[in-house]
């Protein structure tokens, strides 16, 4: 089986690379959309507790529906291809980003903002120099969760013709070829782990103070 997998990789190298590319592209587009929706909504919800349930409830409802069902339901609206796939994955990715953004802003200690205000910072300065940086680790954790989830779920996108590594898996299913199934699965998992690792490295370099032990 390993030999067959290796042979497939060698013969279909170009196709595989393209599939990985599509997979990444769909995933990252969905993630970007989720960040663009989730972070501002989370900020709004954190600022006025009254609006929180109105903002987060729709996403919680949508998230319960399996991604595959959303994909099929989207066909009449958005057709097939990459667009419905990105929409479905965005719906999947918003809740972790949104929730972590809310928690991130909520968890900024009141004494910290008060201290900043007492020093003579304007509300805008407090937001950009204190609240956002302090909420950042939490927001990043949410984005990371969403990233891994989206890459794993993007395999389903092949079902509606969006391409990506899902094609390998579904081909394997169709032809009853264990080697292709395994190859597709392993590649998706590896891609997911790799992106998670890269993201962690990015977070570490952006927030060096997070990894400091106290040294005297």
């Amino acid at each position: 089986m390993w030999a067959k997998m290796l042979e497939y990789i060698l013969t279909h190298r170009a196709a595989l690379l393209a599939q990985i590319g599509t997979h990444l592209w769909i995933s990252l587009a969905a993630l970007a959309a989720a960040v663009l929706i989730g972070v501002p909504c989370g900020y709004l919800a954190a600022n006025s507790p009254g609006t929180e349930k109105w903002i987060s409830a729709p996403f919680h409802v949508l998230r319960v529906i399996p991604s595959l069902a959303i994909l099929v339901l989207l066909i009449p609206v958005a057709g097939t291809g990459a667009l419905p796939a990105v929409i479905a994955l965005t719906i999947l990715a918003v809740p972790p980003v949104l929730l972590n953004t809310i928690v991130g802003f909520r968890d900024v200690p009141p004494f910290m903002t008060e201290s900043a205000a007492g020093m003579g910072m304007t509300d805008k300065e407090i937001l950009w120099k204190v609240r956002i940086p302090l909420a950042m680790p939490m927001i990043f954790a949410g984005i990371r969760t969403a990233l891994v989830e989206v890459i794993a779920s993007a395999a389903l996108a092949a079902r509606i013709g969006a391409g990506g590594l899902g094609e390998v898996i579904f081909t394997g299913l169709g032809l009853n070829r264990m080697d292709l199934l395994l190859l597709g699965g392993v590649l998706v998992a590896a891609l997911s782990l790799l992106c998670g690792g890269l993201f962690d490295a990015l977070a570490r370099s952006l927030m060096p103070y997070r990894n400091l032990a106290r040294q005297q």
Binding site: A46, S48, P49, G50, F105, R106, P109, P110, F111, M112, T113, E114, S115, A116, A117, G118, M119, G120, M121, T122, D123, E125, K129, V130, P133, L134, M136, M207, P208, Y209, L212, R214, Q215, Q216
Partner: protein, 313 residues
């Protein structure tokens, strides 16, 4: 220990003057107060509980009363330029509220506060606060900034030259007794509680404010560190010559540091005088009780020492 300023004649205008200031909170349920400041710094107390900018003392007091209570009740006082005033009182007495009204984190409901003769209500709150240093118990250092960046936050917002910021940081670190090159690039999480307070103090002093507001700055450090910090504070006060307002609930701290002490209870100013006069002539039964409790403690220590010596023999 006498470091009082003989400058009544020198500067006729008081540094800070409170005229019949009062502040009423009318929250009655358990949720804490939510105070939001607009750009103009007006505080809006909202009903929401979470994420509040709350004054724990005020909410504790709010629980006690049926509807509304005065955190600060018709308080008048004059603080002369260069004085180190300690404000002493137990939790909920309004001392923190008074301090926060001084830099407009809270707005009074009535009365007026004058800073060097000018009504602070007529000044832009952000500009006003930049003229005052503000230190809180938790130090409030920003964890994502180095010591250097923390201290130079306001200078950088004021667009000082980088070199001037750096020099000022060096100067301030030396002033608060920390080796500049050793500490400037550290993050707050790499500092002890006492060191964090020193940085908090340095940050508040960055723009050479004439008035410093200190809200129980040494409340969360151990006794020995606190003693060191108190000595440093006295030295810094001597060296900078500013007007310091120091809130504390520790009677020993209040009497040791203040060249005058304001004793507050239930939002009212009970007595404001030099430590010596307060001890000799307490103006109020509450003040008497306070002093007696401190003396009782003293007696406990003295008797323990005698006891220890006896048993050593």
């Amino acid at each position: 220990m006498n470091h009082s300023f003989e400058n009544e004649g020198l500067c006729a205008v008081p540094a800070i003057e409170y005229r019949n200031v009062y502040k009423r909170f009318d929250r009655t349920d358990g949720k804490s107060l939510r105070v939001r400041r607009g750009r103009k710094g007006e505080d809006k107390i909202k009903k929401q509980g979470e994420n509040s900018f709350a004054n724990a003392e005020a909410s504790a007091g709010a629980l006690k009363e049926e509807s509304g209570f005065f955190a600060v009740n018709k308080l008048s006082a004059e603080i002369r330029d260069g004085e180190l005033i300690t404000i002493l009182g137990s939790s909920g007495c309004g001392k923190t509220t008074l301090l926060k009204m001084t830099n407009r984190l809270y707005e009074p409901d009535g009365g007026s506060i004058l800073l060097f003769g000018e009504d602070i209500q007529k000044q832009d709150p952000v500009q006003l606060r930049r003229k005052m240093g503000y230190v809180i118990q938790q130090a409030g250092l920003f964890p994502h900034m180095t010591v250097e960046d923390n201290i130079s936050v306001i200078p950088r917002l004021l667009r000082w030259e980088p070199a001037r910021c750096r020099d000022r940081v060096t100067e301030l670190l030396a002033l608060v007794g920390l080796e500049p090159e050793q500490y400037r690039n550290r993050y707050p999480s790499q500092l002890s509680g006492g060191q964090q307070q020193r940085i908090g103090l340095a940050r508040a002093l960055a723009t050479k404010p004439r008035v410093m507001l200190l809200d129980e700055p040494f409340g969360a450090v151990d006794a020995i560190t606190r003693l060191n910090l108190q000595n440093e504070l006295l030295r810094i006060h001597r060296e900078t010559g500013g007007t310091f307002l120091f809130v504390t609930h520790d009677i020993h701290e209040a009497f040791r540091l203040g060249n005058r002490v304001m004793i507050m209870n239930g939002g009212k100013l009970l007595q404001m005088d030099t430590p010596e006069t307060i001890v000799r002539k307490p103006a109020d039964p509450f003040v008497e009780t306070l002093i007696r409790s401190a003396m009782d403690q003293e007696r406990f220590w003295n008797s323990s020492i005698t006891f220890a010596r006896e048993s050593d023999k």
